[in-house]
């Protein structure tokens, strides 16, 4: 649709936009700098949170390292892993074709 020039003028002038006097209070509020006390409190809260996070990371216990264990019948276990099965499980391979997985109760 292509209105003529007068229609465009009329249409634009009829738009329901607020006057500058009505819009001024909101703009004036946004022109004010943020209150320094509030900004100080926000910074303090952010710094405390950061400190807490750093402290919890620092004090976290180290993950247990895999240890060598001996099976009761003399098999030597040279590798214990905890991925994909209970952490305390022991895997034994007495020969090429046998694999034993011991899971404690």
């Amino acid at each position: 649709m292509f209105p003529d020039e007068n229609e465009i003028r009329r249409g634009v002038s009829r738009r329901p936009v607020r006057s500058g006097a009505q819009a001024w209070p909101e703009i004036a509020r946004r022109l004010q700098p943020a209150a320094p006390v509030r900004r100080g409190r926000l910074s303090f809260a952010a710094a405390s949170l950061l400190l807490l996070l750093a402290a919890s990371l620092w004090l976290r216990p180290a993950p247990p390292r895999p240890t060598l264990r001996s099976a009761p019948r003399g098999f030597l276990v040279n590798r214990v892993e905890s991925r994909g099965r209970p952490a305390a499980a022991v895997v034994l391979q007495p020969d090429r074709d046998t694999l034993l997985v011991i899971v404690p109760e």
């Binding site: 649709m1 292509f2 209105p3 003529d4 020039e5 229609e7 465009i8 003028r9 249409g11 634009v12 002038s13 738009r15 329901p16 936009v17 607020r18 006057s19 500058g20 006097a21 819009a23 001024w24 909101e26 703009i27 004036a28 946004r30 022109l31 004010q32």
Partner: protein
């Protein structure tokens, strides 16, 4: 010396130009949904950048240029959001848009730069030189775009080509 040393000194400038900038943003955006928001943001940016303004000259061109850039930025954001929404739900039926105002539809049929030029020319009555100064583009660019905009209006209203050639659009 700054143009607006404090917020209160900025008030007459806002009161004089707010409605005009909001209407300009409405034309460029093609709808009134974000127009007043863009106008407010443009005034805030002008106030924050007041140190760069020449106190001897009016800040209006800077205000309109800022509003135009904000409109372009918001339109880009809208397009990205629409593309993301389409990706997220390609089969969802889009909500039917509200019936559009014919003037808004007409502005949306133009390119973004043409929308700004058409608004300044038809609604504010500025000539090519004044529009070029306010938008920060070449005067010849404004003339060419105005010619194209007028040609579209005349073509649609059935004015023959010979008559169109006689129409002066340079302003």
């Amino acid at each position: 010396m700054s143009s607006f040393p404090d917020p209160e000194s900025f008030r007459p400038f806002v009161e004089e130009n707010f409605a005009g900038v909001a209407s300009f943003a409405w034309s460029v955006m093609g709808s009134g949904l974000e127009a007043e928001d863009v106008a407010q943001e443009a005034f805030l940016l002008v106030y924050r950048g007041r140190a760069r303004l020449d106190p001897a000259r009016t800040a209006r061109p800077y205000l309109y240029r800022t509003a135009f850039r904000l409109c372009l930025s918001r339109l880009r954001r809208q397009r990205r959001r629409a593309a993301l929404a389409l990706l997220a739900a390609p089969l969802a039926r889009p909500a039917s848009p509200p019936p559009a105002d014919p003037i808004d539809s007409w502005f949306r049929s133009l390119s973004r730069r043409q929308r700004a030029i058409a608004h300044m020319h038809f609604a504010r009555g500025l000539n090519a030189g004044e529009i070029a100064e306010q938008l920060g583009v070449q005067r010849v660019t404004v003339r060419v775009q105005l010619k194209r905009i007028r040609a579209r209006i005349l073509t649609a209203s059935g004015v023959p080509a010979a008559a169109r050639r006689c129409t002066d659009v340079s302003g």
